[in-house]
Symmetry: C2
Subunit: 209 residues, 2 copies
DNA sequence: CCAAAAGTGTTCTGACTACACCCATGC
DNA sequence: GCATGGGTGTAGTCAGAACACTTTTGG
């Protein structure tokens, strides 16, 4: 009996909270969609194993990664328990290593069918956690590029919370409470007025108020 | 390599947040203090194992029990990882089964020395979690009897948060926001005016606001 | 000149803080 | 009659919610 580690890797693509899934090659659940994961190797830490999986799929290693919950293994004869992590990345870094045989792909969370290993348990839990952390921490920094417009940031909040937010109140809160700060730069986009660029005052995880 | 489960069992005794510790009989760490725990048995669920440990020490099974965090095992050659749970009980149920060879005892959290297996990691994490849950959930119901005076409840909050609270504001919040409700009963205690008894409007875990 | 998104301020409400005095009881 | 703890109300502040119009730009 061994310990499995799985990682739910999220990004906001096209105004939708999306998660990285792979199409399983081997049995059990061959051909079905699942979260990337595998067995904890001897001598490896849990966070190390989760980071390794993350790097396998995306090539990235310096992103937000946090332990989520530990589940009893369901339906997998190999593992006894499953330690789930979740990771967040900005859409711009959401490139996949498509050369891999298990074909990682981004799938909008709202449009998922059934997954292998009852991985829905993990995703439900992760979405809940992400929503609440959005409210009382600055995690959102890990979902946007270093410089961004307030509208982009608001889009990320709206996609995750699945509700619309008042522009003025959003700006007031996020700037007024010191989560982000204005830069002097602007960006022109299409047929619009140039938009001011902002940055997070801190890009370390921190609890607000 | 196996999976260990440990349980941090808390109660508020004598105005101090206290945790149940055992004195280890076997090696490693023989004679040192540790959290109750053991290996996950084949076919057992994580919560099942935690509940079993809880019952072993206290005889109780119907109390608040929640998964806390999963740690890499430190210093134990047997386990690979450690899944920590925490439990809460009212002081009145804080009877120990002293007939056990490993001598469970309540120890105030503020006055602990070093523990076996680096169990401090678990306690720090648990205390943090308990404090924040006190703010935004009704967990406190699991630390007081069904009927209690507001002063008793306030004492529990103060012991855990390690700060004093204004009596009037506390009453306003806890009653006004519907966490507890007054009963018609009162209780006389010593040389004092009789105090009104209260009860929680819900004794299921719930998130406030 | 039109469409599209950026930007901006005020008012109201509800929660939280700080704070001081009277009352019932047992000794 | 006094010591102990129970019980109560008000005023101020601050954060969050609701809400509409003007500006810049490209086509």
């Amino acid at each position: 009996m061994a310990t499995a580690v799985v990682v739910a890797i999220f990004t906001v693509l096209d105004q939708r909270l999306s998660v990285l899934l792979i199409e399983r090659a081997a049995e059990p659940y061959g051909g079905e969609w699942a979260l990337p994961g595998g067995l904890l190797q001897p001598g490896e830490t849990l966070e190390g194993a989760a980071g390794r999986k993350l790097k396998d799929e995306t090539g990235l290693s310096d992103v937000f990664l946090e332990q989520l919950y530990t589940f009893d293994a369901a339906g997998d004869g190999n593992a006894e328990i499953v330690v789930a992590y979740f990771a967040l990345l900005p859409a711009a870094q959401a490139r996949l290593r498509r050369e891999l045989e298990w074909r990682p792909a981004w799938r909008a969370l709202r449009e998922l069918g059934r997954l292998a290993f009852a991985n829905e348990r993990v995703l439900d839990y992760a979405q809940e956690r992400l929503r609440s952390k959005l409210d009382y921490t600055n995690v959102a920094y890990s979902l946007v590029p270093v410089r961004f417009t307030l509208r982009e940031l608001q889009g990320v909040y709206e996609a995750i919370l699945e509700e619309t937010i008042d522009k003025r109140n959003f700006r007031k809160r996020v700037v007024g409470l010191g989560i982000v700060r204005a830069t002097t730069e602007t960006r022109k986009e299409g047929a619009h007025r140039p938009a001011r660029l902002y940055e997070f005052t801190s890009r370390e995880p921190m609890v607000l108020f």
